[in-house]
């Protein structure tokens, strides 16, 4: 690849979506400059490079922006050689895309609803939906990782379940996930959290837990 490349990643330190992009770049051995954004005070650059959604992550490659975490991961896979993040076979690629989309469409919204919806009935509904989605993933998981022996697109997408979900659960006293109910996901969680690249990008666990706890406290306090 050309050596005159400038790669910049706009992110926030605790975002699971940003971590997808970071892990993808590190798996490919790409050197990049990281810019920490404040979501309550978005930089002019962020608004310029992602005017449509104004969100992180944004990847800037030779001054050209790529937005949306899964789009970024596929872009990184195609723009740089080396580690294959998606499978090469079209059918398996389709499966990888399907399951990443499933995680974004079914796991995240349900978990957010379960944690943050102001209505208790909606929170219960969210918890039920989250558990259903997790069971489907539990049933689907066959090998060491969703991608087989090495991590791939779906593992990056599902990382939320291994790291953030248990923390939000602990902080909020939720009932979404348990190692007993989902033994394969539990095992996968251990494997992926100990993956050298993943380990290197995750924020400190206590940090994230404290932030979630504060958020839940603020909600109870304002009631």
């Amino acid at each position: 690849m050309a050596s005159n490349q400038h790669v910049k990643l706009f992110g926030t330190v605790r975002s699971p979506f940003v971590k997808r992009a970071e892990i993808a770049l590190k798996l490919k051995g790409v050197e990049y400059e990281y810019v920490e954004e404040s979501l309550s005070n978005k930089s002019d650059d962020l608004l310029k490079y992602n005017p449509v959604h104004k969100k992180v992550p944004v990847l800037l490659h030779n001054d050209k922006p790529v937005c949306e975490s899964l789009v970024i991961v596929e872009y990184v896979d195609e723009a740089w050689t080396g580690y294959p993040i998606l499978p090469s076979d079209p059918y398996h690629r389709a499966q990888a895309r399907f399951w990443s989309k499933f995680i974004d469409d079914k796991v995240f919204p349900a978990a957010f609803k379960a944690a943050w919806n102001p209505n208790e009935k909606e929170r219960d509904k969210g918890a039920e939906e989250a558990r259903e989605a997790l069971q489907i993933l539990e049933n689907k998981l066959k090998g060491k990782f969703f991608n087989g022996d090495s991590i791939g697109l779906v593992d990056l997408a599902a990382l939320y379940i291994a790291f953030w979900l248990p923390l939000i659960q602990e902080a909020g006293g939720l009932d979404l996930y348990s190692g007993e109910k989902y033994p394969k996901l539990e095992k996968w969680g251990h494997e992926i959290l100990n993956h050298p690249v993943v380990k290197g990008v995750l924020p400190p666990r206590d940090n994230v837990l404290a932030i979630y706890k504060t958020r839940f406290q603020n909600i109870s306090a304002s009631k």
Partner: protein, 221 residues
Amino acid sequence: MATQEVVLLDSRCSMFAMRARIALAEKGIEYEGKEQNLADKGPELLQMNPIHKKVPVLVHNGKPICESLIIVQYIDEVWKDQGNPLLPSDPYDRAQARFWADFVDKKVADASSKVWTKKGEELEAGKKDFIAALKQLEEVLGDKPYFGGEVFGYVDLVLIPFYSWFYAYETCGSFKTEEHCPKFIEWAKRCMQRETVAKSLPDPKEVYEIVLILRKRFGVD
């Protein structure tokens, strides 16, 4: 290529299924289309798409592929040496195409469904969001004939099926898209001149009849 079995679990008026139909036509792939009864889903659909139970489902040599955008990309990759390319070849252009396809699914699909399923304030909000999304897309289109540039491409394919529903949206919502987004309508008419698109989209009046039935069933009318 060895004999292939290509089946599409289809539904005439589904804009998502239309995407698959256009893609197959663009590649000149022969397939068996099986119209599904979405009010009474058959065993084949439930077996091939147990997670979402939706159309379209592409079944290629017995193996199912679900979700319209994923199906279109699959078709483009499997039949890459045949017919017209659907996604651009440059990784950056591909990323942009994927971004805007995602935008269509996030912004156009949601807002447009409100326009025919809601009333009062919710309908007005849906109309506003729908027009805003189309205006954003007009900006992206700019002076190009297609979102793909000079040639019909992925984003065009992903978006044009909604056009077959415009008559229904406009009638239910009492508005004319052309008054707000004339460039968009110009682009849509250009796409409709393409044979693969024209033969893959149902007549808007046919869609409207279905919409009326669904509105009654959902208790909107």
